[in-house]
């Protein structure tokens, strides 16, 4: 006769049948499943039929590569009113609808203990210096339009960790879930794969330009003041409830940089078959935005290269 302890032990042994976080999140996130943590997803869905001003052609490439300056009296002009600022930032985002949006995200300060960079679960690494490069094109697609993108995750030493490309048809509001292809290159194991997925959630992707649009639209911010970023005039916004800030160009009102503090409390990772808690701590995540014309050279960045010898 068996005992209840035998049964408990047998059931607990089945924990080894638990799926990997990365294997269940990949199909529902068009990217980011192996990328850096992002700002929380805005709660409201983008309403259908919002006006989109389309500006074709001109690239507005703005790079922000240095630390933000302090708010200064060197920009004495008053801030626009909240409503005017909101409208100008939304208009600026809408005007970039035909461009490639490039994001460079990096962890600049991490106090999360045990951030070892193992591929599972969810967070590849919370170590300082881990970075990702992300391309979206177009950043805001019409229903039925082809959407392409790529997310390249880099180790602190600059070596590639994961490279994920996605390509799908923008679904209608009613469809919600898109069909498309995902290409994944795993540099840790010299492997790559191509998958066709009908489970791509094409909206609400946190950290995407679309989610930035929603964040501004949904009023979850307040203006802090005028400042400088990489020597150019900027306006700093505080993102309410997100422990973060957003800098927009004071002339074009396009987002330049976003910071977000990610709390690691409660996060787990599995090492050598054992689950362990990462412990408390925080990581500061900084994202710089650029807006690129869809030239052949820039479009080539959307293709995930398969390294020679990968299987």
């Amino acid at each position: 006769m068996r005992t209840e302890e035998d049964l408990r032990a047998a059931l607990s042994s089945l924990e080894d049948q638990a799926p990997l976080v990365t294997s269940v999140l990949t199909p529902i996130r068009r990217n980011g499943s192996r990328g850096l943590p992002r700002r929380p997803i805005p709660r409201m869905r983008l309403a259908a039929g919002l006006a989109v001003a389309v500006a074709v052609g001109t690239a507005v490439a703005v790079t922000a590569t240095q630390s933000p300056g302090t708010t200064a009296g060197s920009h004495p002009q008053a801030l626009p009113s909240h409503e005017v600022l909101r409208t100008r930032v939304l208009d600026a985002l809408s005007s970039a609808t035909s461009e490639i949006v490039y994001e460079h995200t990096r962890i600049t300060a991490s106090t999360i203990a045990g951030a070892t960079g193992t591929p599972d679960p969810f967070l590849p690494s919370l170590a300082t210096g881990t970075a990702s490069e992300i391309w979206y094109y177009p950043w805001r697609a019409q229903a039925g339009q082809q959407v392409r993108g790529r997310e390249l995750t880099l180790h602190p030493d600059g070596a590639a960790a994961w490279d994920v490309g996605f390509n799908y048809l923008e679904p209608t509001e009613a469809q919600e879930v898109a069909s498309g292809e995902l290409t994944t290159v795993d540099y840790a194991h010299d492997t790559w794969s191509e998958q066709r997925s009908s489970g791509i959630i094409a909206d609400g992707d946190s950290g995407s330009p679309l989610s930035l649009w929603e964040l501004i639209h949904n009023e979850t911010w307040s203006a802090v003041g005028r400042t400088e970023l990489d020597g150019q005039p900027a306006i700093k916004l505080e993102l309410k409830g997100h422990s973060g800030y957003l800098w927009v160009d004071a002339r074009t009102y396009q987002p330049l940089r976003e910071t977000y503090v990610f709390s690691g409390a409660g996060a787990e990772e599995r090492i050598n078959g054992s689950w362990r808690n990462l412990g408390s701590g925080q990581a500061t995540i900084v994202t710089d935005y650029q807006y690129l014309a869809p030239t052949a050279a820039n479009l080539a960045q959307l293709t995930v290269p398969i390294p020679k010898g990968f299987r």
Partner: protein, 166 residues
């Protein structure tokens, strides 16, 4: 709680529950993927709950109990075989008895199996299990008795007294 925070802090435990419940990683992945797509869509509501993981766990349970292979819909899984450093234990050589028990567990009807997982893995009471399965505690006791008998597991006096007191 945001979806990202849920995924980072709560999802691993939900996945372990799914793995034990299904007893098969591929099935657990299918069940969880189906649930997560709905969770992601409805996160505005689910994320506002006091304990979203409990709600998601119940969704996993319901999905498992009603699961039918969806041959018409392909939801591919990420190729994580190489990334998966977990080693499947060799039950056949090291745990022959456990292997036999697991094999018999796999043959149980799903509701009976679910009751055992909720009772002996999750540590829930009969009343809590009954609420989750939307049935009476007596029905739960029936499932559990039949399942334990099929597995030839002797119920402890503690459990017996708990049963008779209800």
């Amino acid at each position: 709680m945001t979806f990202e925070e849920f995924a980072a802090t709560r999802l691993p435990a939900v996945l372990r529950f799914a793995g034990v419940l299904a007893g098969d990683r591929a099935l657990a992945e299918d069940v969880v993927q189906e649930v997560l797509i709905r969770v992601h869509r409805q996160w505005g509501r689910i994320g506002g709950l006091d304990h979203p993981e409990q709600y998601v766990r119940k969704m996993v349970l319901n999905e498992y109990l009603s699961w039918r292979r969806r041959s018409w819909r392909m939801i591919p899984r990420g190729d994580t075989r190489e990334a998966d450093d977990r080693q499947t234990q060799d039950y056949a050589t090291a745990h022959a008895e456990r292997d036999a028990l697991l094999a018999e567990l796999a043959k149980l009807p799903r509701r009976q199996r679910a009751v055992l997982v909720l009772r002996y893995y999750q540590g829930l009471t009969e009343t809590e299990i009954a609420e989750l399965l939307d049935c009476k505690p007596g029905t739960v006791r029936g499932y559990m008795s039949r399942a334990l008998a099929a597995l030839r597991v002797e119920m402890s006096p503690h459990v017996l007294s708990e049963e008779t007191s209800k």
